[in-house]
């Protein structure tokens, strides 16, 4: 990627980012409904149709709210969570990366936005009181511990731009050298497994009206962003990279990337529905989730780090050998 960032590519990247954001926000309730439906099929329960979640959100948007104590703070938290979730969706590559030189966030910023959105989503459960308070506190604690649990994954990504990191991963095959990053993707995926999805669905959230709709939409967006992040890391080759070739190949790659994204979502929905078969209490679910994220991330970091460090060590050895050879040759040239 030695090309210069042109205005045309910048404009195309902006357009792609807007399209990706809209796609994520619109697809999030569909994905949630899909997972719910699949889980209902697996558990033998009756669930809504796939589009039922969207209809519910639409319906809640039109309903007048019932004001209660602490609704102001809850409303603010819901809107903040939605803003953060949309921001994270904007930064997450769905089918294309941004061209080199385009400002892109780091992975840490992305994860922080997601965790903050989760924290804000747990706030109404605490504020409203009632039966959901304890579960709300547990959700807040689990989400606040999520960032420390993500440390190995964050170390793997490093301080570089997330887009540049994915562009580096793009050259590795997931069934070959990129296998450790599949493990990293699994660790990221487990952030959403055993999450407050069931808790949020089962716990009667006391919000009403538009606040409830915003809460539901933000929850779905956060979930879909985590899933998309996991899919991107696990198989970065499906993402299009602008600037490598012309516009037409890039558009074709974008279309293929969109299809691959849907396939990844289908697999993730199956796995998520499978995790709902495990009946665990809420604190235990949080413990399982945090431990799985941390340990799998640590294992992935170890597996990837050993290869990188060995490669670096080999490179250093090779370069030292080259220097020594060149020095010997210089001496040999100088002697005669």
């Amino acid at each position: 990627m030695t090309h210069e960032l042109t205005w045309g590519w910048s404009f195309a990247a902006l357009l792609a980012l807007a399209l990706q954001t809209v796609l994520m926000v619109l697809a999030a309730p569909w994905f949630s409904g899909w997972v719910n439906r699949l889980a209902g099929r697996l558990t033998g329960g009756h669930r809504f149709l796939v589009g039922g979640r969207w209809q519910d959100i639409h319906h809640q948007f039109r309903r007048p709210g019932l004001r209660q104590r602490g609704d102001g703070l809850s409303s603010l938290a819901c809107r903040g969570a939605l803003v953060l979730a949309v921001f994270a969706a904007c930064m997450t590559p769905v089918f294309t990366l941004v061209p080199s030189g385009f400002p892109a966030p780091g992975f840490f910023l992305l994860c922080s936005a997601q965790v903050c959105a989760s924290l804000l989503l747990g706030l109404p459960l605490v504020v409203q009181g009632g039966t959901t308070t304890l579960a709300g506190y547990a959700a807040l604690l689990a989400d606040s511990l999520l960032l420390p649990a993500l440390v190995p994954v964050l170390v793997m990504a490093g301080g570089q731009d997330f887009s540049a990191f994915l562009a580096h991963l793009r050259q590795l095959s997931p069934v070959g050298d990129g296998a450790p990053f599949v493990l990293m993707g699994v660790a990221l995926f487990l952030v959403t497994a055993w999450k407050g999805r069931q808790a949020g669905a089962d716990l009667p959230c006391q919000l009403s009206g538009a606040d409830r709709a915003v809460w539901m939409l933000a929850t779905d967006c956060v979930q879909l962003v985590w899933i998309t992040l996991a899919g991107d890391v696990a198989w970065a080759s499906s993402l299009a990279l602008p600037g490598e070739s012309g516009v037409e190949p890039w558009l074709a790659q974008c279309l293929a990337g969109g299809a691959f994204w849907i396939a990844k979502l289908a697999i993730a929905a199956l796995l998520l529905a499978g995790t709902q078969l495990m009946v665990l209490t809420f604190p235990r679910r949080a413990r399982v989730r945090l431990a799985a994220v941390f340990l799998l991330g640590l294992l992935a970091w170890q597996v990837a780090y050993s290869g990188q460090s060995a490669a670096v060590g080999q490179d250093k050895t090779a370069s030292a050998q080259d220097e020594q050879d060149s020095a010997w040759s210089d001496e040999g040239n100088a002697t005669p």
Partner: protein, 400 residues
């Protein structure tokens, strides 16, 4: 480093977390991890062994019932295995440790075989169910085999194959000793009789309408395949208040209604016991059979009902008489006595007598009314049914 090598420890963790159900997937992935690197005879042998050790035990266990062992270990056991894997990777995956290992320089390295073996050991140690521990041992065998194949250690592979055979055989013997076989029992006759569809296959002498068609053959739903009759089921049958509205009405209206319901309620089970002993039931009958047979004999008004149109139409052999009762005992058809006058109730009682029923399977009809003796043309369907029923009853008796 391939994806299969990464997936094998994850599937081993699934075995630790959920049980033996993930063992075939672990075996297949381990075999793929062996074969991806090289396709040599050693790899092929290891892959075949791993697949056999993973698939056959699961198939074998699936033939047995769940032992219902309550597992008291929590969901944190897989994380113990995962933590140990991390420590193992820390010990073996560092560049210093890998420096001596040839062929790993510059590539991501995960001791997948050792990780799988470690997960299997954790399952053996921490889980309490026998099948789970067996799955842990087999996962351990898979892991050691993978490790030996990756490192090209022929001796390790051979010894592990031997050990796997021993583990599989001993575990299979333990399972066979401890667990119960799965017995596939078809739908219960008592439960199925309540459905209206189960009624249609049976017929009875009095049920056949004069102008109606020939009695329909015994469909597969009328005579159920041999099933397991336990004492509990028989007792449940005895206690079950059979909802036979038609017959109940009959018996309420019949002159000796005080004795009939008892007969009808007890006769099915008795006849089913009789069915099992059909060949030798001709001469010897149990006490309760005697008690039952005594009752129809003192119901002489069975012959006082010669004008019953259905009997003249459809009774031709005693075998034919026994057919419906046989089918009825299987099905307990409610409503068999639809549109049957009350006077027919004593007529039905002799049909339930086991003596007649047992003799009907082999002999000619014993009590035949003068009017009933009129020859009725036997259709090929009826002949075929008689032949089939004779063979069926003989078979039942042989089974019993």
């Amino acid at each position: 480093m391939t994806l299969a090598v990464i997936l094998a420890p994850l599937l081993a963790l699934c075995v630790v977390a959920r049980g033996i159900g993930f063992l075939p997937a672990l075996g297949v992935v381990t075999a793929v991890a062996m074969l991806v690197d090289a396709w040599e005879p050693l790899q092929e042998f290891g892959a075949v062994c791993v697949v056999l050790f993973s698939v056959l035990p699961v198939w074998f266990v699936s033939r047995y019932q769940d032992d219902g062992a309550r597992e008291r270990t929590g969901p944190m056991v897989p994380f113990l295995a995962l933590g140990l894997m991390v420590i193992l990777q820390l010990a073996t995956g560092t560049p210093a440790a890998m420096g001596e290992a040839p062929g790993h320089a510059g590539a991501a390295y995960l001791p997948a075989g050792l990780c799988v073996a470690l997960a299997g050991l954790v399952a053996v140690t921490c889980r309490q169910a026998m099948v789970w521990q067996w799955a842990g041992l087999l996962a351990c065998v898979d892991g050691v085999m993978l490790s030996g194949v990756i490192e090209n250690q022929v001796m390790v592979v051979g010894v592990t194959a031997l050990a796997g055979c021993v583990v599989a055989l001993l575990g299979g013997m333990c399972v066979h000793r401890v667990m119960l076989r799965v017995a596939v029992a078809p739908a219960q006759g008592g439960a199925g009789a309540e459905r209206p569809s189960a009624r249609s296959g049976g017929f009875e002498l009095g049920d056949v309408e004069p102008a109606g068609p020939e009695p329909r053959g015994l469909g597969p739903e009328a005579v159920v395949a041999p099933r397991i009759w336990t004492e509990a089921e028989a007792a449940a049958e005895d206690e079950e208040p059979l909802p036979r509205p038609g017959k109940a009405d009959q018996k309420a209206a019949s002159p000796n209604a005080d004795t009939k319901p008892e007969t009808d309620l007890t006769s099915p089970t008795a006849e089913e016991h009789k069915d099992k002993a059909a060949p030798d039931a001709e001469t010897g009958s149990s006490d309760e059979d005697d008690a039952e047979t005594a009752e129809p004999q003192d119901a002489p008004d069975a012959k006082a009902d010669p004008a019953e149109p259905t009997e003249t139409e459809s009774t031709e052999t005693g075998l034919l008489k026994t057919d419906p009762s046989e089918a009825k005992t299987e099905d307990h058809k409610p409503g068999v006595g639809r549109a049957v006058p009350a006077a027919e109730a004593p007529d039905k009682a002799p049909e339930h007598t086991p003596d007649k029923e047992a003799s009907g399977s082999t002999d000619q009809p014993a009590p035949v009314d003068p009017e009933e003796a009129e020859p009725v043309p036997r259709t090929p369907e009826m002949i075929a049914r008689d032949v089939w029923l004779r063979g069926y009853l003989t078979e039942r008796g042989r089974d019993a």
